[in-house]
């Protein structure tokens, strides 16, 4: 199961008005665990008023920089990103899981590969890590970055990218696409959409020479770029994606719990939602799990091991109380947020309302 380790904040640097770059150091004994691959991300956790939030942030450092570094953009009303931008300071400790993710290709020092990168806003972070690493470790590689932002002042790592251009003269180029500020060439104004991609391929990019393309940005951009790359002949294995969209629970209110336990022997009124459809039925108080009851009422609820090990059957309790026989898969913070393994859960209140959709 996922393990968290403390990281020491050694530096917090303001990068733009609403983004900071945070440098982190693991304890000596955790150093090997945090030996990342370019393009991977860290998952942090922190308690906000007794409620644990987890958020992932891509590492923006290159392999040869010898440190962990993340760039965090403040999201309006966002709990974690606002806290980092406004409160986090050098000397603080923050807990993180070891690096995860597959947004990279293996380094081949001898190969002369051509890379394309597409990033929007904070989506630059993993791409920057990849750029730095491949340019340093694959001396014949070339990288072209297409980087979309609202305006010049919101561009993260603008100077660093300029420095890289100078350091790797002729091997690294950047095409800035700005939404709000007209540039000398028309092409560079607006958003990265289908039309922009077509124009880029017509004038600037040579699809046939490309070995791998990396895309990190909002959903519509990912779709537009991927569709265009496929249309220009790139195969699935040549296109790497990283999506920042979060389906993690936000700062949910504590769920209402009806504490009165029912008398043994009576039935339980159960309400189950799956794929937007809700069914209510009676289930016995003893001898049947929520999963079995849902299946018995011909709902196609997901499950696999039925042994509390895999977590395929996870659902969320919205009302009422249930008890799990065993739980080898859900962590405490998920349980506190109301999640249960339905293959292990039996109701202990008169009424339970659960959903597989949240």
């Amino acid at each position: 199961m996922a393990r968290f380790h403390p990281l020491k904040v050694t530096d917090v640097k303001r990068e733009t008005r609403d983004a900071v770059v945070v440098t982190l150091a693991p304890r000596d004994e955790d150093r090997a665990l945090f030996d990342f691959t370019q393009g991977q991300y860290l998952t942090f956790r922190r308690d906000f008023d007794g409620e644990e939030l987890r958020r992932s942030y891509s590492i923006c450092a290159g392999k040869d920089e010898g440190m962990l570094r993340v760039g965090i953009k403040r999201v309006d009303g966002g709990a974690f990103s606002t806290w980092v931008n406004e409160t986090l300071a050098p000397g603080d400790e923050i807990e993180a899981m070891p690096p995860m993710g597959k947004f990279f290709t293996p380094i081949e020092p001898g190969a002369d590969k051509q890379y394309l990168g597409f990033a929007a806003g904070s989506g630059i972070t993993p791409v920057l890590s990849i750029i730095k690493t491949v340019l340093a470790r694959e001396p014949r590689a070339q990288f072209t970055l297409v980087y979309a932002n609202r305006q010049i002042s919101t561009i993260m790592f603008r100077e660093e990218l300029e420095d890289l251009k100078n350091l790797y003269l002729g091997r690294f180029s950047v095409i800035h696409v700005l939404e709000q500020e007209g540039q000398e060439i028309d092409l560079f104004t607006g958003r990265i959409d289908e039309a922009k991609m077509a124009a880029l391929f017509q004038h600037w990019l040579d699809a046939e020479a490309v070995d791998t393309a990396f895309i990190c940005g909002p959903e519509p951009m990912m779709l537009a770029v991927a569709a265009s790359l496929r249309a220009h002949g790139l195969g699935e294995g040549q296109i790497k994606f990283e999506l920042f969209a979060s389906s993690q629970p936000g700062r949910a209110k504590a769920r209402p719990v009806s504490a009165q336990a029912g008398a043994a022997g009576e039935g339980v009124a159960a309400t189950v939602t799956l794929d937007g459809a809700t069914r209510s039925f009676q289930m016995p108080r003893e001898g049947e799990t929520i999963l079995e009851a849902a299946l018995a009422n011909s709902m196609d609820a997901p499950y696999s091991c039925k042994a509390g090990v895999c977590s395929t059957c996870r659902c969320k309790v919205l009302e009422g109380e249930v008890e799990m026989a065993v739980n080898h898969a859900l962590e405490d913070y998920e349980v506190r947020a109301g999640y249960v393994l339905s293959c292990q859960a039996r109701p202990i209140s008169d009424r339970v309302v659960v959903t597989y959709d949240e």
Binding site: E236, C310, E334
Partner: protein
């Protein structure tokens, strides 16, 4: 074009998810179901082939069966690693079932999975001898090849990538089977035995493609976890099988 969009719409339009953190709840359930079915099937297949090693008539065949036993277990482990990122207790998972357990040879399970684990029903049947093992491997290997065209483009990128690594090695397993069958089909007695095994395994492998017009398929298709319907995959496999067997005079 707005900055973000609803994740369901994104998936329906062919979007790709990349981390447990961006996976919605229902998608998570179906993704884990898909992965555990693969892991269970590979572990059961590996367990089945472990027995076939001692049925092998010669050293080459013994090596082929050993390799299949080893690599199928390795493939299970790779996918289990992706499951673990969602919380699955990988250590307990691999010991939670008896992967070598089989039903009676004459039992008829249809397409239903048995309580216990999520392996494809075909992996519940026992192997009866070397020719039987080879035939089963050829037919199921071709089925895996067809399924891989789906699995290598599932919308969860870290899993699609694992499948893209696995696919060529699975294809090699099927090829080892075909080489074995070629040997067997050189004598009339061998062909006779092979035909009996084909009659036994063909409907049982076919059942692994699931029911036609499956309701779950629509959900999976919206999530980008499936692309072609069961009946299309089944038809492709039937055609491949006929072609391969005809080439061997079977």
């Amino acid at each position: 074009m707005s900055d973000t969009m609803n994740i369901e719409d994104y998936l329906a339009q062919g979007g790709v998810l990349t981390a447990p953190g961006n996976v919605p709840a229902r998608y998570r359930g179906e993704l884990l179901r898909l992965m555990s079915s693969f892991v269970d099937s590979e572990l059961a297949a590996s367990a089945g082939f472990a027995d076939a090693i001692n049925l092998a008539p010669g050293i080459r065949e013994r090596i082929a069966a050993s390799r299949i036993t080893l690599e199928k277990a390795d493939h299970a482990e790779r996918v289990l690693r992706v499951m673990a990122e969602f919380g699955t207790d990988a250590g307990r998972y691999q010991t939670s079932h008896d992967w070598a357990a089989r039903v009676e040879r004459g039992a008829d399970l249809g397409a239903a999975r048995r309580p216990g684990d999520m392996r494809l029903s075909v992996f519940h049947y026992p192997i009866a001898g070397w020719t039987d093992a080879v035939v089963m491997n050829v037919l199921q290997g071709l089925a895996t090849g067809v399924q891989m065209t789906e699995l290598t483009r599932v919308s969860y990128a870290p899993l699609a990538e694992v499948f893209r690594e696995i696919a060529p090695r699975e294809a090699r397993h099927a090829e080892l089977g075909r080489e074995g069958l070629e040997q067997i089909a050189q004598t009339e007695a061998g062909r006779e035995e092979a035909r009996a095994a084909i009659a036994y395994w063909r409907p049982r492998v076919a059942a692994g493609f699931g029911v036609t017009h499956s309701a779950r398929h629509d959900t999976l298709a919206r999530f980008g976890l499936r692309h072609s319907p069961n009946e299309a995959l089944l038809a492709r496999w039937q055609a491949l099988v006929s072609e391969h067997l005809a080439a061997l005079g079977l």
